[in-house]
Amino acid sequence: MRGRSALLGLVVLACLPVHGRAQTPAAARLEGMWSDPPVTPDGLFCFFACTDAGLARLNALLDNPANDARPFQELQGEAKRFERESLRDLLTPAARQRYPLDPADDPGFLKCEPWGLVRQIFAPHQLEIRQRGTTLELRYGEWDGRRTIHFDGREPGPTPTAMGHSLGRWEGEALVIESSGIAANLIMLPDLQAMGEHSPQMRIVERYTRSKDGAVLHMTAMLTDPQTFREPVVYKKIWRWAPEQHIAPYDACEPPTEFKKAVQR
């Protein structure tokens, strides 16, 4: 009887379209533990997230022999400033009025409030991808944040939530996740040094691919939010295959006992 049930299950699974399944050979290629990027200029620059414009600026600075004596950290800082200014220019007038957020007003800092999806997906450190029945679970070391990726096309609930509603599909070996129903929260532009706010109209399309040698996971994320950006913005991020890592408890956050507002950097 058990054998017949298992056989029936296999037949049902085989009949499902590829876009409706979490468990595919491609999923197996992504499954496991990832963590901080390889130690390369691109890896460090995209530690949280980066843009093509920022990467191009960094590489132009690195390729210029006149900069050979300047430390990488200085060149990275210059490219990051350029990247932040480029992102600021893409903000709507309303979003620009509230930019940048004073880091002392970050509820993650003030109240130990876990990040929403738009920050969580760019969190540094561990990312664990696991198949859970018909879904995928993405678990992050930062905040021990977790999200479930559904493959059955279900509709989001009526109320936006911090981690939103995520639907997955496979395009060849790429995992594509479309997220909506995300409650208004903070957005990194593109890191914690420069933050703004996004609206519940935010939609994200993430695309995950593993490098041919298996060592690196690449993600591009298109962020669309007409209340925040004048046009869609694309962030990139990189993780390193890190089976030696594990996600430790995130249970000792304490609100600050002292802090200063409006610190000029």
Partner: protein, 147 residues
């Protein structure tokens, strides 16, 4: 001095990069990135936790008065990338810590370097990453000069 406390010292300004942002929030509201101090003392506790690893130490001044200091690190999720464990620093160890002070100069700092009694050093992970990048750049320059 009892050898246990050093005054604030002028060291090169350490500029934070994005990779050094301390785990779940920005650094600037609490710590002054433009100043660096060095304090010596005896470790009383090392908490290897998230979101911030914490070390507590007793610092004795010239008069023999003991002051409790707290040293904040990046999170366990960050330091574990570099092989740190709950045993990396033990209570009773004599250490000299260099770090960024708070804006209010309270007895608290953000870790930049620890020197143990035997002279060995503990450094933030990002310092190791930057060393690797500079070596990559040196090799690249060398190879382009040879072509």
């Amino acid at each position: 001095m009892n050898g246990l406390r050093a005054a604030a010292v002028a060291l090169p300004i350490l500029v934070l990069s994005a990779a050094e942002t301390i785990a779940h929030h920005a650094f600037s509201p609490v710590y002054d990135e433009k100043r660096v101090i060095t304090v010596a003392g005896v470790v009383t506790e090392f908490r290897f936790v998230n979101p911030h690893v914490m070390m507590f130490m007793d610092v004795t001044d010239d008069s023999g008065k003991v002051e409790k200091w707290a040293v904040e690190f990046a999170g366990r999720l960050n330091l574990s990338e570099f092989g740190w464990t709950a045993e990396s620093i033990k209570p009773g160890e004599k250490v000299t810590v260099t770090g960024n002070p708070t804006h209010t100069s309270s007895p608290r700092m953000f870790f930049r370097k620890i020197v143990r009694a035997d002279g060995t050093e503990l450094l933030p992970g990002n310092a190791q990453r930057l060393d690797t990048i500079e070596e990559l750049r040196r090799q690249r320059r060398k190879s382009s000069q040879q072509q």
